[in-house]
Symmetry: C2
Subunit: 332 residues, 2 copies
Amino acid sequence: MIETPYLLFLGDAPDRLAAKVAQGIRDWRPDNALGQLRLPGCKADLGLDEMTLEQGLQAGAKTLVIGVANRGGTIAEAWKPVLRQALALGYDLASGLHHLLRDEPDLVEAARNHGRKLHDVRLPPQRYPIATGARRSGKRCLAVGTDCSIGKMYTALALDRTMRERGMRATFRATGQTGILITGEGVPLDAVVADFMAGAVEWLTPDNDADHWDLIEGQGSLFHPSFSGVTLALIHGGQPDALILCHEPTRTHMRGLPHYKLPSLEELREVSLRLARIVNPDVEVVGIAVNTAALGEEEALAHLEATEKRMGLPTVDPYRQGAGRLVDALPA
Amino acid sequence: MIETPYLLFLGDAPDRLAAKVAQGIRDWRPDNALGQLRLPGCKADLGLDEMTLEQGLQAGAKTLVIGVANRGGTIAEAWKPVLRQALALGYDLASGLHHLLRDEPDLVEAARNHGRKLHDVRLPPQRYPIATGARRSGKRCLAVGTDCSIGKMYTALALDRTMRERGMRATFRATGQTGILITGEGVPLDAVVADFMAGAVEWLTPDNDADHWDLIEGQGSLFHPSFSGVTLALIHGGQPDALILCHEPTRTHMRGLPHYKLPSLEELREVSLRLARIVNPDVEVVGIAVNTAALGEEEALAHLEATEKRMGLPTVDPYRQGAGRLVDALPA
């Protein structure tokens, strides 16, 4: 568990996209984002208060989060003086980069000298049990996609926000790097050893009160041959009561796989339900979340309406329209 | 890759079952099993020549394989003098035990001093790529089961033996500890990190000649919530042309999961085919392998006949009857 709130380090981000982890934290957990710290030349701006390390501490920040990614996922030398000073001043560090904080000797030494923690959220922080498949109390919702990177995390976070606004009891359960940095905890499922994947998801979504919903961040796709096993572990470990189908209508092939077409929403519904029923016979597909960012407003609305009619399920773009109709569709 | 042939170390095995890894090597790769080395009190006997370490070397053995498992999977202190001496004499060591050779300081030191290797086949010996899903040349057959531990490895090894006897071109591809020790190579799939599971299976079963068959060792079951993700990675990474359904008719619940019933063979066929078609639209279910060890001969034959009639697929117990009819059923 990463201590919050954060000071968000944007480094020398060349553009807004390079700071998308920080943007995610700012968008979804503004209470965790006290301010931003930028190096000269930084082109990203989250619109947060600019803070020095000292100002961040005064404001109550506990962890400096590396909210920027460069090509190759390395920890740039230009960032090092700030990172070392942060440890000296009393911050923990958190990073989702491919290269690890713990592999940088100067940071390891500074963390040890000052009694601080280095959080590399790409690596599981612990071992997980083997899944038991036993039914758990409480409710769980999982987004599954026709492809990877299609809006599953966004959909779960939008549901989480809407449910909290309505006073419902809900917890977003992060299963990837960005999600973990947003909330400060979770399981980096793609880095868990095969035998323990489903067990890690069970651990992440334990018994809960009957009216509580876990909103589980999806990963991969049952139809994406590179990562389908991770998705099935999520379905069988997560034991969802509700599935939401996620889709992007302009994508011409599976991400990274030019020779694979996307399945239809009908195929996704059929296969996901069949597999989810193995662990929860009562599971339902409750709605569809379509990422219409590539369409104009009118075209997007027409697409959503046509999909809703064809599939007979509430169909929204949670970014354009919010997740309210998906929340309405959850079983009581 | 583990150097063959082996001298099989049976230690102080209290019974035959404790030496089942050695038994598997002896049964399926007799050429790899030059002899057996037993400590006083050993109750297992493979019927191989008894050899000292020196005799094994003279006969050509390269690796001493720990072919025995004790409760807890530890490396017993009683074995240590033999293991250290083996390294000193020029053997490599190989083990599939839960506790690792590399975690025993005396063995690590002896291996270093004598320039020998310690093979812990529970751990992947390398990193694997992310799967591409690209179609590969050559043919592949995968056994899938209604449950774990139901005869999938045995079935693949029986096919491998029959095909070699007939002069066909076939390679058994090990995906678990016992299989890896039997053949000397493979991927310990349950210990691979989630994102690389399917890629490891692609790596294990690369492009090959058009008439060559990879016989891929199955793992887990799509219907076993603890390990289903591993099974789906095998299906999507292995891209099978032929599936064989494996079943054990007297099992009352999924292994380790008293609250889960086994699926029917019809359900296994339907779900496996649906998922395998994502990567290979031409995949076929070619036959059924039933483990009838718990039935008497007459009962077993009646069960096989009834299953064959019901499913419309060649149905055999490869242990009782050999795998010939399954080989006959493979597509040309």
